[in-house]
């Protein structure tokens, strides 16, 4: 069980109604997204989302360590 801070941006933040939250999680990042998607009703399937951990892009199969900062990155629209 790892305690991680999850950051939300754009439509994910609107759906979660918060910028971030602390979550106790076991398993990989994909499982974490699935869990939080169900909790908050995120519209975006995991195929359209990228994940970052501690400020760098990460792999969905990575398992977060305790204290990690995880960010879900919905499709970007800068420029």
């Amino acid at each position: 069980m790892a305690r991680v801070t999850v950051l939300y941006f754009a439509s994910l933040r609107d759906a979660a109604a918060r910028d971030s939250e602390v979550v106790d999680h076991e398993g990989d990042l994909a499982a974490l997204y699935a869990h939080l998607r169900e909790r908050h009703g995120f519209a975006l399937p995991i195929e359209r989302v990228r994940v970052a951990m501690d400020g760098a892009f990460a792999d969905w199969r990575d398992c977060p360590r305790g204290g990690a900062e995880v960010a879900f990155i919905p499709p970007v629209s800068g420029g």
């Binding site: 950051l7 754009a10 400020g55 960010a71 990155i73 970007v76 629209s77």
Partner: protein, 140 residues
């Protein structure tokens, strides 16, 4: 020095352009993205950009490093605005200096394409009808 920056407020292009001048560079290409009054057929009144700043800065810097490795250019830089913008405001600027124009144009185009597809910045668009939405485009 960082070649990529996130700007919270309107920024001046002139000093950024001047920073790319090189005696050996004969060509300079630049791109600017301006807030339009329409998108996907809807009248837009303005927008808000937000970023995951730490990752956006790191990813932007990586894009410029890659451009310098891929193209025979002298230097390159990019600044992206975040916050509230009105129609006509400057949203993003890219500048590239090079000995020749082929590389300047190619690198400038490549950089703006990569920034748009990779840097964690999101656009929240407001419409004339009063509604607003986050844009999460499908990959091309």
């Amino acid at each position: 020095m960082a070649r990529f920056a996130i700007a919270d407020d309107a920024f001046d292009i002139a000093p950024l352009r001047a920073g790319l001048l090189r005696a050996e560079a004969g060509a300079y290409a630049s791109f600017e993205g301006w807030v339009r009054n329409h998108n996907d057929g809807r009248a837009a009144t303005g927008l808000r950009y937000e970023s995951y700043r730490a990752l956006a800065e790191a990813e932007g810097e990586r894009i410029l490093d890659e451009a310098l490795a891929r193209f025979p250019i002298a230097d390159a830089a990019c600044v992206h605005r975040i916050g509230d913008l009105a129609v006509g405001d400057l949203a993003v600027w890219v500048g590239v200096s090079a000995a020749h124009r082929d590389a300047a144009f190619a690198a400038c185009r490549w950089i703006i394409d990569e920034v748009k597809s990779r840097v964690p910045i999101w656009k929240h668009e407001r419409y004339a009808e009063g509604d607003a939405q986050w844009l999460h485009p499908s990959s091309p």
